[in-house]
Symmetry: C2
Subunit: 464 residues, 2 copies
Amino acid sequence: MDPKLGRMTLKEWVAIKSDSVQPMPRFRQELFRMMAVAADTLQHLGARVTSVDMGSQQLPDGQSLPIPPVILAELGNDPTKGTVCFYGHLDVQPADQGDGWLTDPYVLTEVDGKLYGRGATDNKGPVLAWINAVSAFRALEQDLPVNIKFIIEGMEEAGSVALEELVEKEKNRFFSGVDYIVISDNLWISQRKPAITYGTRGNSYFTVEVKCRDQDFHSGTFGGILHEPMADLVALLGSLVDSSGHILVPGIYDEVAPLTEEEINTYKAIHLDLEEYRNSSRVEKFLFDTKEEILMHLWRYPSLSIHGIEGAFDEPGAKTVIPGQVIGKFSIRLVPHMNVSVVEKQVTQHLEDVFSKRNSSNKMVVSMTLGLHPWIANINDTQYLAAKRAIRTVFGTEPDMIRDGSTIPIAKMFQEIVHKSVVLIPLGAVDDGEHSQNEKINRWNYIEGTKLFAAFFLEMAQLH
Amino acid sequence: MDPKLGRMTLKEWVAIKSDSVQPMPRFRQELFRMMAVAADTLQHLGARVTSVDMGSQQLPDGQSLPIPPVILAELGNDPTKGTVCFYGHLDVQPADQGDGWLTDPYVLTEVDGKLYGRGATDNKGPVLAWINAVSAFRALEQDLPVNIKFIIEGMEEAGSVALEELVEKEKNRFFSGVDYIVISDNLWISQRKPAITYGTRGNSYFTVEVKCRDQDFHSGTFGGILHEPMADLVALLGSLVDSSGHILVPGIYDEVAPLTEEEINTYKAIHLDLEEYRNSSRVEKFLFDTKEEILMHLWRYPSLSIHGIEGAFDEPGAKTVIPGQVIGKFSIRLVPHMNVSVVEKQVTQHLEDVFSKRNSSNKMVVSMTLGLHPWIANINDTQYLAAKRAIRTVFGTEPDMIRDGSTIPIAKMFQEIVHKSVVLIPLGAVDDGEHSQNEKINRWNYIEGTKLFAAFFLEMAQLH
């Protein structure tokens, strides 16, 4: 194998602070560097690489930031072979060592067979596993069993800004020869048993701003005579979900697909050791006590999470401030057949109702800043069968057939625009902690995942 | 006047980032530098100066930080004269230009007669006005009409850590010859009319921590099956105060002093142009429509403010995180005759009741991190009369006799430990914005305030 690839490359890639969430120019520069490094790696592999300029992004505050290029790459063009396109992303969630990381999030660090680092599992590790698999055929001087295409972006964690337009534009060009699309951007539901994913939830991300004035107040000088924006905001956020996790926005469950007996049976067939799951999650108690309820509330029912507040006092210590203007942030994970626009209307209406009852003199503005559709696939497609066979070869077991509670909007997008079969083949274990502190990928998953992709190429060649 | 004093010194003092609220070593270093610079200035004035070592402070996270020294200084020791002790503080609230400051908070900047900068009015400007007044007698080679003492600290914004023990220890030494204590650490209630303050509210600062685990979650992977700490916290914070500003903690109003007809009349006598007040505050509408209600809810009724949340997502952008552990912060401004320990019990009990009804598997911990008593004085003391006469001399008007909604716990502390008359003579205008962005002191207030203190020395000499 090329000595430039493998774990050393993952270390180099993790070291690049390609954070797409925090809209600061320094992170944007890192994103551009990340995409250039990846393009270089693919060129080194022998691929024809195009880095597509994606223009720039207008932020709500008026700031304009450049969008990192999307990489389109091709390797092999044999009309007798199937063509598999791999989608991945190289941007990451924010990470700050002060938030509770035990190691520097941007220094890949191996501890007990676990490779810790931001992006290790989401999604730099899996992208490299696919590249490593291709590289293995090269190193053995074997022809690739399939034609390979890559579409690699740098804005996934920020909602894949502008990607949809590119896919639309390339529908009859780059994607015309593509038969199958593979994504590896989620996790297994166990620590050791591989899985194939056939559905994901969507996501509607909301901000609700409450403003008295654009300056904070001293709580001694003004406490007692103001409609305090934080009191309004806390009431608004408190009206969204009850203590059992039930969303309180009227109408929100109307379009959720009815539950069938057949569907319940698919959950029963899945192996999930609740005890192990709870231990690996380090959660004392979940909202539900049975495997089936837990899987359904992660996959087929919507959920609402409150993420935080911008503009309030968020540091250690005791500041006696009345914030003048605050922005609450929450999101709803959508499931088939919920509609993004309908949810936007329902949430906005609900918050306006709650706010108007308070008779507050503050101004409230509700915005949906991201609206990502849920996705569900046909599990009898050729590549689902190939993936199952590859898993049997490498892992000696049947995969869990699962859905994912996370949002991978490009799955839905590829399905709708390109009309190709999409499969999600995760490599990471359930406890990888993507998006949280101490994200990691196991060394074993990284290496077996590389083998799995190589075996998948061979199975695809047979089944196609 | 000494060329080292005056506005240039205020500029130098504001440039020192003496933030006592954020417990970082770099701010602590600045605090020590601030106290050293002030000791130097007082020595330069001819005072005998002692910088008292205050030891160190143990933070909740285990960190230990040194406490800046308290300055005790004396100027004059004539037994035939009265002795006035001036209390001030040189630490400041946090300030960050990114939070909405129009100028660098640590560069004193004059715009239209306003001197903008963190600490300009709270409390560096008033401390320097007092020093300038003393300096004026020196420059004119006149004897000081009174003996002057200074007690200057650097931890006021963090609750005057360890000051009480020092005052207790110095009760029969430094304070034995003191007749009167003057504090100038609050504001007028108008832009142009001076005031004397005879009471302040106290403050109980609370944190309520809700913890699932010490690591965040991804809202896709875990949303729907968790008791989310933010949902618990928002419900807890939402249970504290209603939309009319009424505190919902049972029993909290029990010890509030009953309102008498006589007291109502004192509020009626105060000039407060509500229209001007609202305009200068840039608040569209207050909770109350009459002058009397507003003054009473700032001075003689408790208030509750929610300050913010530590541990949640607080940056711009859209992070899909479920915070694993969050700390809500709020405080209650206390009034006579509320008791800090009783309030602590009431709040803790209330939050425990609300939390237990949620059946959450998370852990909740309520802490009162600061408990500061309210204070009220006898307005017929000699120095109240002297202050009134000095105001007539310098400003040609009667002062507003006011109370302050803010907490100046050392007023209560001096009264209880030293048993001396305490007066608050504010210098800053109502719109100075202490604790908020764009804090300032008017050039006019700073200069007339210096004159007021000089006139006060002369009046004290006559009345004593």
